[in-house]
């Protein structure tokens, strides 16, 4: 929104998350790099186990022990926020970073009315009196499209349907006018027709308020509709980063390319869906070199030996050796072997 100079509001650098076990630490995130600019919607997409939700939790300091941040940095609005104490993080969450989880029921306390939860959150983070807070609560509910908002303040979460609850959660996340919202699978638990409504609400509000969003989901369709930019995650790393249109139509990384192809679409009916063979390696069993190498149609010796860093691909950046000058060297060296195999 603020011109081309949009600096990174959230900057995650080489984030590593591990789970200590008796067989040594299990690496869950192997160095995640991503950033969200002011007012931008970043979609973080990946299959289950790719580490996308863990990334979101790590950023806002909600990792559940014994999982912990093993390395890397998280910068928010020019300040480093990894390693902050629980209290300091709590002040940032809610006030400057809003959070929306998949299941609206876990975000709402069933024992309190919607109005109480909203006003309480508002008054925690903003300097408002009881009346003003209530007025703001009604405004927020109005904004997220809850009909007759003023009369619903006294209602309990169970009196709302799933879609309405998720609207309330969005209102809660927006309470203190945060700069960034982290939304973890916000529509996954909802029906398709409700999903569309919630995506619409989220999109509209973030545009109106200029809030940046980190939208974590496995649903490429949701990303395509909502996000400006996409980070594709695979086996605990970001392996592709680019604008939505480019990633959808012209992905650089063979994994993203395969992923986009394997999504059934309405349109020309094809006999077989393009598929990626195999499945993502389990945490702790990620191969050395490129994690995608065992499934990759383009794989060469270099891929198995060394882990690629992000480099400029076709129109996006991708962690793939294809876009390295060294690729042609390996092609000559390993071409014959590959043909035999």
């Amino acid at each position: 929104m603020n011109g081309g100079a949009a600096r990174a509001l959230l900057d995650v650098r080489d984030l590593k998350v591990g789970l200590p076990t008796r067989r040594g630490p299990l690496a869950i995130l192997n160095g995640v790099d991503l950033h969200v600019k002011e007012g931008e919607v970043l979609g973080v997409v990946g299959e289950s186990g790719a580490g996308k939700s863990i990334t979101g939790l790590a950023v806002i300091g909600l990792l559940e022990p014994p999982a912990r941040i093993d390395g890397g940095e998280v910068w928010f609005d020019g300040a480093r926020i990894d390693g902050l104490s629980g209290d300091e993080l709590r002040r940032i969450r809610g006030a400057r970073i809003g959070v929306i989880f998949q299941d609206p029921l876990t975000s709402l306390n069933p024992l309190y009315t919607i109005g109480f939860q909203l006003t309480e959150t508002i008054r925690t983070h903003m300097d408002l009196g009881a009346d003003a807070a209530e007025k703001r609560a009604v405004e927020l509910l109005d904004e997220v499209g809850i009909p007759a908002a003023a009369s619903r303040l006294g209602a309990y979460p169970h009196e709302f349907s799933g879609g309405m609850r998720q609207r309330v959660v969005i209102a809660l996340a927006l309470c203190a006018n945060p700069r960034l919202i982290i939304a973890d699978e916000p529509t996954t638990a909802l029906d398709v027709s409700i999903q569309a409504q919630i995506i619409g609400v989220l999109k509209r509000l973030c545009r109106e308020h200029g809030t940046a969003v980190m939208l974590i989901t496995h649903d490429m369709g949701v990303i395509a509709e909502t996000a400006d930019r996409v980070a594709v995650m695979y086996a605990g790393r970001v392996i592709e980063d680019g604008t939505v249109a480019e990633v959808v139509r012209n992905a650089s990384h063979p994994y993203s390319h395969g992923l986009m192809g394997s999504i059934p679409t309405i349109g020309a009916r094809i006999g077989r869906l393009p598929q990626i063979r195999g499945s993502m390696p389990r945490v702790g069993a990620v191969p050395a070199g490129c994690a995608f190498a065992p499934r990759c149609p383009e794989v060469r010796d270099l891929c198995r030996a060394e882990r690629p860093v992000m480099m400029d691909g076709k129109a996006t950046s991708a962690a793939c050796w294809q876009y390295s000058p060294r690729w042609s060297d390996t092609a000559a060296a390993a071409g014959g072997a590959a043909a035999d195999g």
């Binding site: 076990t21 869950i28 186990g49 939790l57 699978e185 496995h218």
Partner: protein, 327 residues
């Protein structure tokens, strides 16, 4: 319950939230039963103690220096000897003797055997009864389930000691006059029944609720679609998946059964003094407590406490170790 199917059509379940993923990872890597066992010295000690008891009970015939139940080997001259390390003690009676000259150590070995036999049998009895009623009532539901569960409720309102006393009294009344009554083995059967009958409701409840969970899972539906008979589904599919909590309760119940047995015997309605269990020993001994022969009651009591403590610790550990896997 019948309404569940309609809501079963949830669309688009999430492929795993982060919390669940972490939990699963942590469980897979860390709460391996063997590992948590090795890591815990208290539990290892408890297991060793329990095993020693089993061993001592099983091989009492060889291990015991004396045969306390053979009147011909007893001599009143050896009666009320103190433990060996006290003046007047005799090293062939390490822990001393009772009023009839029986070696306390040997009697403890045989007594533990009796206590463990009664305890185990009672637990097995209540497990078979409780699990059987639990799995069938959970699986079939309807009025049968209501009857079983209300019966369990009623049973639970009665303290187990009271139930055992009632059963014991009724059995004695019924068989009064017949010569079965005096038989010590008959007393054991009555005890097993009395203790076992009071414990079944907890198994029935736990297994019933676990059955309700398992029954709604699709592997049971898959078996039903191909027409596997109900009894087979219960036995082969549902039952094995409900056994975790039963194992835990069973272990803790063993300790409880041993205590109940001891209590009943102490009250004089359990095992007759001719074939003393730990409880009987304590009762016999406490008459001498104030006349100075403390060892007759103290050592059997310590033996009982140690056994119950060890088994309880094992049960507690088992519950904690298995719990995250119980969903």
């Amino acid at each position: 319950m019948t309404a569940r199917p309609a809501t079963g059509a949830t669309s688009g379940t999430a492929p795993g939230t982060a919390g669940r993923l972490l939990g699963a990872l942590y469980r897979g890597a860390d709460s391996d039963l063997a590992y948590s066992f090795r890591r815990n010295p208290v539990v290892v000690t408890a297991a060793i103690v329990t095993l020693l008891y089993f061993f001592g009970a099983a091989f009492a015939d060889w291990l015991a220096p004396h045969t306390p139940f053979d009147p011909s080997t007893l001599s009143l001259g050896d009666a009320e000897k103190p433990p060996a390390w006290i003046e007047g003690g005799d090293w062939s009676y390490v822990l001393g003797t009772d009023n009839q000259g029986r070696d306390i150590f040997s009697t403890i070995l045989y007594g533990s055997r009796l206590s463990l036999i009664v305890g185990f049998s009672a637990v097995i009895f209540s497990v078979v009864l409780g699990v059987g009623l639990g799995v069938t009532s959970g699986y079939f539901g309807g009025w049968y389930e209501s009857v079983v569960m209300r019966a369990a409720d009623v049973q639970l309102t009665l303290p187990s000691i009271l139930v055992a006393l009632m059963v014991d009294g009724v059995a004695r009344a019924i068989f009064a006059g017949t010569d079965i009554k005096t038989d010590a083995t008959f007393a054991i059967y009555v005890l097993i029944f009395a203790i076992g009958i009071s414990a079944w409701p907890q198994y029935a409840r736990v297994v019933r609720s676990a059955t309700l969970v398992e029954k709604s899972k699709d592997y049971v539906a898959a078996a039903r679609v191909i027409g596997i008979p109900s009894w087979r589904i219960m036995l082969r599919h549902v039952l094995p998946n409900t056994m975790g909590p039963v194992l835990v309760i069973g272990t803790i119940d063993l300790a409880l059964a041993v205590i109940t047995e001891a209590t009943l015997s102490f009250l004089g309605v359990g095992i007759p003094p001719t074939q003393p269990s730990l409880g009987t020993l304590i009762r016999v001994g406490q008459e001498f407590l104030f006349s100075g022969q403390w060892w007759i009651t103290l050592f059997p009591a310590l033996a009982l406490v140690l056994l119950v403590l060890a088994v309880n610790l094992l049960g507690d550990w088992l519950r904690d170790a298995l719990n995250p896997k119980l969903r």
